[in-house]
C-alpha cells in the first residue's frame, strides 16, 4: 500500500538501486503519506546540508555566468563584458564555416569515444582484480605503483612518449624491431595518433581510476559472499554476481558523466603530440581554439566554441541519462 503512495509522490522515480539480497518488496516505512510541506519540514536539516553547496554554486558559478554573452559579442577587455558590441552568431558561423569544422568534430568525437572504450572498462577490471587479492605487500605495491603515473605532468608524459616512440632511438621501437617487425611511424602516421594518445592515457590513468571502484567495492555485504560460498559459488561467479553488481550504480553514473564530456578533449597533451604530419587525425576542437588564440587572444571566439561544446555535451548527457533511467534505474536525477 505504501509503495504505491511513494510512487505517486514527488520523487516519482526512485533512484535507489535495490540493494543486493534485500527483498525488493520490503517496505519503506518513511513518512511517505504526508503532504509535501510536512515532509519538507520534517527534513529541514537536509536543506541546511545542501545550503553551503547551493550558496557556493550560486556565487561562484551562477554569478559569473553573464560572461557567456561574450560568445555573441565582440569582446574587448577594456570595454568590459557588458559594453562590448553584439555580433550575434558571427563567431559560431566562423567556427561552423571553418574548412576544418567536420574534421575537428570527427577527430574530437572519435578520440573521445576511443578513449572511453579502452579507458573506461580497464579500471573496473583492475579494481575487481585488486579486490580478489589478499591485503598485503603485493596488493599495496601494485595499487600504489599503478596510481603513481597519474601525477606525471603532461609535458613530461608527452616528452616520454616521443622519446619512447622515436624511430631512431625509441625504446619501444627497438623492442618491436627485436621481433623482426618493422615498427610503424607512431608519431608521424595519422592512423596511429589516436592509439598512441589513448594507450598512453590508459597507461597513465587506469590505476587512478580504480580508486573510486575500490571504495564502492568496500560496500559489498560479506554476508552475501558467505551465503554464496555455502551454495558452492566459485570465486569468479561471486565476482560477477556479487561484486560487480555492487559497483554497477557507480559505473553507470561515471559512464553518464563521461558521456557528458565527449567534446571536452583537452588541448595540452594533444598539442604536445601533434605535428604537421599527423595533424589530419590529431587536430581537435580544443587545439584549434588554442591555435586561433595564438594569433591574437580571441575571447569571444573561444567562448563561442566552448558554448557549442557545452550544448552538445549537455544534450548527450541528458540523452544518455534518459536511456540509463529507462534501462537501469540509475540516473543522475
Amino acid at each position: 500500500m505504501k509503495e504505491s503512495v511513494e510512487i505517486a509522490g514527488p520523487e516519482g522515480v526512485d533512484l535507489q538501486q535495490p540493494r543486493m539480497g534485500r527483498s525488493p518488496g520490503k517496505m519503506r516505512r518513511l513518512a511517505s503519506g504526508k503532504s509535501t510541506w510536512s515532509k519538507m519540514l520534517q527534513n529541514w536539516e537536509l536543506y541546511l546540508f545542501v545550503a553551503p553547496a547551493v550558496l557556493y554554486f550560486l556565487i561562484f558559478h551562477y554569478a559569473p555566468m553573464y560572461g557567456i554573452q561574450i560568445a555573441f559579442k565582440n569582446f574587448i577587455p577594456a570595454k568590459g563584458i557588458l559594453n562590448s558590441e553584439w555580433v550575434g552568431f558571427q563567431h559560431f558561423e566562423r567556427f561552423f564555416n571553418s574548412y576544418y569544422f567536420g574534421d575537428l568534430l570527427w577527430n574530437t568525437l572519435s578520440l573521445s569515444l576511443y578513449e572511453l572504450a579502452i579507458g573506461f572498462p580497464l579500471p573496473i577490471i583492475l579494481a575487481l582484480a585488486f579486490n580478489e587479492v589478499k591485503n598485503g605487500f603485493f596488493k599495496k605495491s601494485v595499487q600504489t605503483v599503478t596510481y603513481a603515473p597519474h601525477f606525471i605532468s603532461v609535458v613530461v608524459m608527452a616528452g616520454m612518449i616521443i622519446t619512447f616512440l622515436s624511430p631512431s632511438s625509441g625504446m619501444l621501437v627497438r623492442l618491436i624491431e627485436l621481433f623482426g617487425i618493422d615498427a610503424p611511424k607512431f608519431l608521424d602516421d595519422p592512423s596511429w595518433f589516436k592509439t598512441v594518445y589513448v594507450i598512453s592515457g590508459v597507461w597513465q590513468n587506469a590505476g587512478w581510476g580504480t580508486i573510486i571502484y575500490l571504495a564502492a567495492l568496500s560496500g559489498v555485504d560479506p554476508q552475501l559472499h558467505e551465503a554464496a560460498i555455502v551454495d558452492g559459488a566459485s570465486r569468479f561467479k561471486r565476482m560477477l554476481h556479487i561484486n560487480l553488481p555492487t559497483i554497477v550504480p557507480t559505473i553507470s553514473i561515471l559512464l553518464i558523466l563521461n558521456m557528458g564530456n565527449v567534446l571536452g578533449v583537452g588541448y595540452e597533451k594533444v598539442l604536445l603530440l601533434q605535428n604537421s604530419l599527423n595533424m589530419e587525425s590529431s587536430d581537435v576542437i580544443s587545439t584549434f581554439v588554442y591555435r586561433s588564440g595564438l594569433v591574437n587572444a580571441q575571447f569571444s571566439f573561444s567562448t563561442a566554441v566552448g558554448l557549442f561544446n557545452s550544448v552538445v555535451n549537455a544534450i548527450l548527457l541528458v540523452t544518455v541519462n534518459q536511456i540509463a533511467k529507462r534501462t537501469s534505474k540509475t540516473s543522475l536525477w
Partner: protein
C-alpha cells in the same frame, strides 16, 4: 517527469535573475575617472638630469617575471629608484601566464600605472588606446624623452612602425640595431667539413645537395656506420626561412619584394621550388626523417653524438655542446637556378609594445622620463649589464671601453641584477654598449654575420605595421585555417604524401581559403605604411 520539467523552468528563472542582478554589479567599466583629469598632480618634473622629481613618488608597474629574482631586490632597479626618486610597486605576473594576466588586468578596470615589457600587440595598442586606457605618448616624447625623440628622428621607419592608425603612439619599442638575424642562423658541423676536406662552403642549392649527400655516404664521423644526419630540423620552422631565400622568398608568411609588391608566401612559385627541393632532400634521406616529430632536445642529442652536419640554433655550441668555439661556421645563404642571388631576411630591429602608460597614471611625464633613460647609452648599459663594478668596469671611460670583472657564471649573476633577462625591456642596443665586453667568440660571430648576411644585402622582409581593427579581425579568421592547411600540406609535399604535381590544386585551395585576401590586406597596410 512533469516535475522535472518544472524544475528546469524554475532553475532557468533563477539563472536569469542572478544573471541580471549580477551583471549590474559586475561591470567594472564606469568607475570614477581616476587620474586622467588631474594629470601629474602637483609634482614638478624636471626636464633633464636626476632626480626626475624632487620628492619621491610611487607608481605601480606590471611586467612578466621569469622567477629568478624578486624585482625589489634587483640592483638595477634599486639604482634607478635612487637616481630618479620614482618608487615602483611591482605587480608582476609569471612570464608563462603573463598574457592571461594582462587580459584580466585590462578587463578589471584597475590598471597598473606602467606596463613594462608587456608585449602589447598592435591590436592591443589600438584597442586600449582607442578606449583611452593607454595614453598617447608622442606629446610626452617631444617634451620629456629626448633620447627616444632622437631615435625616432633618426629612424623614421621606427616611428611609422609604432604609430597606430589613429596617429598616436601608445607604446614604445625595444630597439636593437646590433642584432641582424631574422631567425636563428644555420651552422655547419666543422668537424665534418674538415673530414670531407671542404674549404669553400656551398653557395648554391646544388652544392649544398652534393655536400649533404657526401655526409650521408662518406661517414664523416668515422664510426663506420652510416648514421649521419645531413640536415636536422624541428618542424622545419627553424630552417624554413634560410632555405626559402634560395628561391627568392624572404619569409614564410608575408614579404614585400623590391617593387613594393606584397606576396603571400604559400602561393608563390618560389615556395613551390622550395618544397620540391626539400622533398628531394627527404627522399634521399638527407633531411632528418624525424624532423616533424622530434623535440629540440632530441635534435641536440643527435648533434652531440656527432651525427648532424647542418642545423639551426642561436649559436652552434648550444646544439653541439661544449664551449663557444669558432670551428663550426655559419651557413652561407645558398641560391638556386631560380634566382640570381639569394634573398636574406634581416631582423626588424624593434620589438613593439615594450612600454606603455595607463590613464590611471598620475605622473605620465615622470614615467616617460624614467623610461627615456633606458634609451640612453648609460641607461641601456645599466639595464643590460648592471651597475658598474658588479659585472664590469670601465677601462677607459672616455672611449666607453669596458671589461668584465672576474665573476663566475656571468649570465646567472646578471639574471639576479637586472630585469632585462628573457623579457623585452625597453632599451637601445648600439655598438658602444658592448664595447670591450665582446669575447673573441662574439667578434667572430659578428664577422660571420657581416660577411655572410649583411654584406650580401640582407633586408627586412616586411616592416612591423598596424592593421586596422577590421583588417586585424579578418586576418585572425583567415589565418587560423590557412596556417593549418599550409603547414599540413608543406609536410605532405616534403615527405611525398602528396605529390608536387598537385601543386595547382593546393594553390586553388589556398586561394579559396583566402590566400589572395591575405595578400590584399597586407598590401593595403603596407601601402599605408609606406606613404606615411
Amino acid at each position: 517527469m512533469g516535475k522535472g520539467k518544472k524544475g528546469w523552468a524554475l532553475l532557468l528563472a533563477v539563472v536569469m535573475l542572478t544573471t541580471t542582478l549580477l551583471s549590474a554589479c559586475g561591470s567594472p567599466d564606469k568607475k570614477e575617472d581616476k587620474g586622467s583629469g588631474s594629470k601629474s598632480g602637483t609634482v614638478e618634473v624636471s626636464k633633464e638630469g636626476f632626480p626626475i622629481v624632487p620628492e619621491q613618488i610611487n607608481l605601480t608597474l606590471m611586467a612578466p617575471d621569469v622567477g629568478v629574482q624578486n624585482w625589489n631586490d634587483m640592483a638595477v632597479l634599486k639604482k634607478m629608484e635612487e637616481l630618479t626618486n620614482i618608487k615602483f610597486t611591482y605587480n608582476n605576473a609569471p612570464k608563462d601566464s603573463f598574457d592571461t594576466k594582462k587580459n584580466l588586468v585590462f578587463s578589471s578596470g584597475e590598471y597598473p600605472d606602467v606596463f613594462l615589457a608587456a608585449g602589447l600587440t598592435a591590436a592591443e595598442q589600438m584597442n586600449y588606446g582607442e578606449q583611452g586606457i593607454l595614453i598617447p605618448l608622442e606629446g610626452l616624447i617631444d617634451e620629456y624623452a629626448p633620447n627616444m625623440k632622437k631615435i625616432l628622428e633618426e629612424n623614421p621607419s621606427i616611428r611609422k612602425s609604432i604609430t597606430a592608425p589613429d596617429g598616436h603612439i601608445y607604446a614604445l619599442p625595444v630597439v636593437d640595431f646590433n642584432q641582424p638575424w631574422y631567425r636563428n642562423p644555420m651552422w655547419y658541423n666543422g668537424k665534418f667539413l674538415k673530414k670531407l676536406g671542404i674549404d669553400k662552403l656551398p653557395e648554391t642549392t646544388e652544392e649544398l645537395y652534393t655536400y649533404l649527400k657526401r655526409v650521408k655516404e662518406e661517414d664523416p664521423n668515422g664510426n663506420g656506420k652510416k648514421d649521419e644526419i645531413p640536415l636536422s630540423s624541428v618542424n622545419l620552422r627553424d630552417i624554413r626561412t634560410w632555405l626559402l631565400g634560395a628561391f627568392g622568398v624572404y619569409e614564410e608568411e608575408v614579404y614585400v619584394d623590391d617593387n613594393q609588391k606584397v606576396h603571400y608566401t604559400p602561393m608563390e612559385d618560389g615556395y613551390k621550388e622550395y618544397l620540391s627541393y626539400l622533398s628531394r632532400l627527404w627522399n634521399e634521406d638527407l633531411l632528418d626523417h624525424e624532423s616533424f616529430s622530434q623535440t629540440s632536445e632530441q635534435k641536440k642529442a643527435k648533434a652531440q653524438n656527432n651525427q648532424v652536419a647542418l642545423f639551426s640554433d642561436w649559436h652552434a655550441y648550444m646544439t653541439m655542446g661544449g664551449e663557444p668555439g669558432m670551428e663550426d661556421p655559419m651557413f652561407v645563404p645558398v641560391k638556386s637556378d631560380f634566382v640570381d642571388k639569394p634573398v636574406i631576411a634581416r631582423n626588424r630591429g624593434i620589438t613593439i609594445g615594450a612600454f606603455a602608460i595607463s590613464n590611471t597614471n598620475k605622473y605620465p611625464e615622470a614615467s616617460i622620463r624614467w623610461v627615456d633613460y633606458l634609451y640612453s647609452y648609460d641607461g641601456a648599459l645599466l639595464f643590460s649589464k648592471g651597475p658598474e663594478g658588479m659585472l664590469w668596469k670601465y677601462t677607459d671611460e672616455a672611449t666607453k671601453k669596458k671589461e668584465y670583472l672576474p665573476v663566475e657564471n656571468i649570465e646567472t649573476v646578471r639574471s639576479t641584477l637586472t630585469p632585462n633577462f628573457g623579457i623585452a625591456i625597453p632599451s637601445v642596443t648600439t655598438d658602444e654598449l658592448l664595447k670591450g665586453l665582446k669575447t673573441d667568440f662574439d667578434l667572430w660571430v659578428d664577422k660571420e654575420s657581416k660577411e655572410k648576411l649583411l654584406d650580401k644585402g640582407s633586408r627586412i622582409p616586411f616592416p612591423i605595421l598596424f592593421l586596422t581593427s577590421e583588417e586585424q579581425a579578418e586576418v585572425n579568421v583567415l589565418s587560423s585555417d590557412l596556417n593549418t592547411y599550409v603547414r599540413q600540406m608543406e609536410a605532405k609535399f616534403v615527405t611525398g604524401a602528396e605529390p608536387i604535381s598537385n601543386w595547382d590544386k593546393y594553390v586553388a585551395t589556398v586561394k579559396k581559403m583566402g590566400g589572395d585576401r591575405m595578400q590584399e590586406i597586407y598590401q593595403a597596410a603596407y601601402d599605408r605604411w609606406n606613404s606615411n
